[in-house]
């Protein structure tokens, strides 16, 4: 371990592995370490033994719901937009060759006590019970406007400057009812709460376009998902990094992040007796004091809210959903008197994440009260009998500085959104901070052939 590296990466979560892969492809000498003996950190998918070790260390995993290795349970429920920033990254780096993707079979939204399919085509929309006849006409006008809108073509703006006008004014112009607004803002633009209505409308319009494009790509839902769980993604990017010369060390405890006493700049990391030096370090918040600050340690991360997630093992599909093998249900906050939406993500053995006949639903939301688990009740109520349930409350951490000054670059925790676009945003953000330039995905990476 005596060599000097361009970059040390701490933690093998998805964000870190993507960055490690991109840096290695860029010719940087990378050392990637993880304190665990497995890849993925928070974004690892767990088998039953690992799940029990984490949630019920004193109990043994059940043997009557299939084999241990049939399970790959995500801790952070997220899907991939069929057409979005994550798919761009996957295709650009060619890690798609290490992975196999399945389509998520349905996207649903909760309204007035019932679960409704989010229309995937215009025909479905016109048959959907989500809107009345006149409202359908108004909504149609709105969607035509969105589809035609081009930032650089004022003729498509209809007098609205979307960079300034808040979204609520756009809704008002098209006369959309609150229920339709809920549907558009939460089930399509995937906002977790209603603050977006006060913000300039452009972002919302772009999100709707992304949703529609993703929906159109494969047909049934806007999402795809990797076989054997999300934990395959960090592994695939770690292979990319290794193929380009990155060095991997799992099961390596990081005892200290060393800085220059005078300048505060990063020097290296210490693991036991060994010290490795590098120009910079990138790592997840848990390597920089998140959760357990040591005395005298510099404050590098802060908590900004919490997410509660319940992994639920079911022995049946979710009632009222045409028994699909995988889906998302969004419960918009307004529907259940909350400030933040509740999400349900369902997977089954078709995605290689559990035994045949078993379904895994993860219910999650942003914590608003002191009894987080109770906040999930409206979501849990939709699942039917729950065979077993594992609940976790996770603080979300964010770095206190950009890291440019001390060359210590910290990534963000995985948030409550239902997709990986915020992870991609974080990757781009860290890349910009590290290299001083925006991440360009122009040239396609092609693996070296010997």
């Amino acid at each position: 371990m005596d060599e000097e590296y361009d970059a040390i990466v701490l933690g093998t979560g998805l964000t870190e592995c993507i960055l490690s892969g991109l840096l290695s492809v860029d010719g940087k000498k990378v050392l990637h370490m993880d304190r665990n003996d497995y890849y993925g950190g928070e974004s690892a998918s767990l088998n039953l033994t690992q799940l029990y070790r984490k949630f019920r260390p004193d109990a043994t995993a059940p043997t009557d719901i299939g084999r241990d290795r049939d399970y790959a349970l995500d801790q952070i429920p997220k899907f991939i937009f069929a057409s979005g920033g994550m798919t761009d990254l996957l295709v650009h780096t060619d890690v798609t060759r290490y992975l196999e993707f399945k389509q998520i079979s349905g996207s649903y939204v909760y309204r007035d006590g019932k679960v409704n399919k989010v229309p995937s085509t215009e025909m479905e929309a016109l048959r959907s019970p989500l809107m009345g006849l006149f409202e359908k006409r108004r909504a149609r006008n709105f969607f035509v406007y969105v589809q035609n809108w081009r930032e650089d073509d004022p003729a498509t703006h209809q007098g609205l400057d979307l960079k300034k006008v808040p979204m609520k004014d756009v809704y008002a112009k098209f006369g959309l009812e609150p229920g339709t607004q809920d549907f558009i803002g939460h089930a399509m633009a995937l906002y977790l709460h209603d603050e977006y209505k006060e913000q300039p409308a452009k972002e919302t319009v772009l999100r709707i376009v992304q949703y529609s494009q993703s929906m159109a790509r494969y047909g049934k839902s806007p999402y795809i998902y990797p076989m054997y769980g999300l934990g395959e993604l960090p592994q695939a990017f770690s292979r990319l990094s290794a193929v380009y010369g990155g060095t991997y060390m799992l099961d390596k405890h990081v005892d200290e992040v060393l800085t220059d006493p005078a300048t505060g700049k990063f020097i290296g990391v210490r693991s036991g007796e060994e010290t490795v030096k590098a120009k910079l370090v990138i790592g997840d918040p848990s390597y920089f004091g998140a959760g357990e600050m040591k005395e005298g340690q510099k404050v590098r991360v802060m908590e900004e809210g919490m997410v509660v997630r319940a992994i639920c093992i079911l022995k049946h599909p979710i009632p009222g959903t045409e028994d699909v093998d995988s889906l998302q249900i969004i419960i918009p906050q307004n529907q259940v008197n909350r400030q933040n939406d509740i999400y349900i993500a369902l997977l089954s053995h078709h995605q290689g994440v559990c035994a045949q006949g078993v379904y895994v639903a993860i219910v999650s939301t942003v914590v608003e009260t002191s009894v987080p688990e109770k906040e999930l009740a409206p979501g849990l109520a939709l699942l039917g009998p729950i065979f077993d349930k594992f609940v976790q409350v996770s603080p979300l951490y964010t770095p206190t500085t950009t890291g440019v000054e001390d060359q210590i670059f910290i990534t963000r925790s995985y948030d409550a959104t239902s997709h990986l676009e915020t992870v991609v945003a974080d990757v781009r953000d860290v890349w910009q901070r590290v290299t001083g330039e925006p991440l360009k995905l122009e040239k396609k990476v092609v693996e070296v052939q010997e």
């Binding site: 003996d37 798919t87 389509q103 494969y218 395959e232 695939a236 380009y244 991997y248 052939q449």
Partner: protein
């Protein structure tokens, strides 16, 4: 029409036993006395034609050096249809390492994975530390294929890939049934991200 199969094959074994050399001999019929330890592993393919016209295409994965600090990602062998666990006949410790990979595969990989135990560097028989009997006995007990090879002379190399190529189509239906990625049944519902977007109403794959 003759059948075509494509299988993922992974190589496992201690550093310097000759994994990359075996691949190079099989794919390009070359050998290099001064090979450097693998970083930046190649991803190679090679096709074997069987007597009945069936073609078996191997997608060959090398470890990219990730196993060096016990850090090989399980994804590497998870959806593999076959694995060659290589040891060096002049290093008895390398057989122990190969055995531990075999145990790992038996625990984590698809149960129908075809595993070959391969004693490489047979041209160095004068320095032999692992007897043929010992290795063969272990392979028989565990239900594995076994062979000795020399990537240097080429002895036994094509034979082992050939034997695997013959065995795989027999177990392919089993793997396809389990949904092993390596043996995708035709019309599986996987999506190909490298294909352009399908228009609305023309889903790329269907549920039927």
């Amino acid at each position: 029409m003759s059948k075509q199969f494509q299988f993922k094959l992974v190589l496992l074994g201690e550093s310097a036993v000759g994994k990359s050399s075996l691949v190079l001999r099989f794919v390009k019929d070359q050998f290099d006395d001064y090979r450097e330890s693998t970083i930046g592993a190649a991803f190679l393919t090679q096709t074997v034609q069987l007597e009945d016209g069936t073609t078996v295409k191997f997608e060959i994965w090398d470890t990219a050096g990730q196993e060096r600090y016990k850090s090989l990602a399980p994804m590497y062998y998870r959806s593999a249809a076959c694995a060659i666990c290589v040891y060096d006949i002049t290093q008895s410790a390398s057989l122990e390492k190969a055995k531990s990979w075999i145990r790992e595969l038996q625990r984590q990989a698809d149960p129908s994975i075809v595993i070959a135990l391969c004693g490489n560097k047979s041209d160095l028989a004068a320095r032999r530390q692992v007897s043929q009997e010992e290795a063969q006995k272990f392979a028989e007990e565990e239900g594995l294929m076994w062979c000795e090879t020399s990537a240097k002379t080429g002895e036994g190399v094509n034979e082992i890939f050939d034997r695997i190529a013959h065995k795989l189509p027999e177990v392919a239906p089993l793997q396809a049934q389990r949904g092993t990625a390596a043996a995708k049944p035709a019309g599986a519902r996987s999506v190909d991200l490298n294909k352009g977007p399908a228009g609305p109403g023309t889903p790329e794959s269907c549920n039927c």
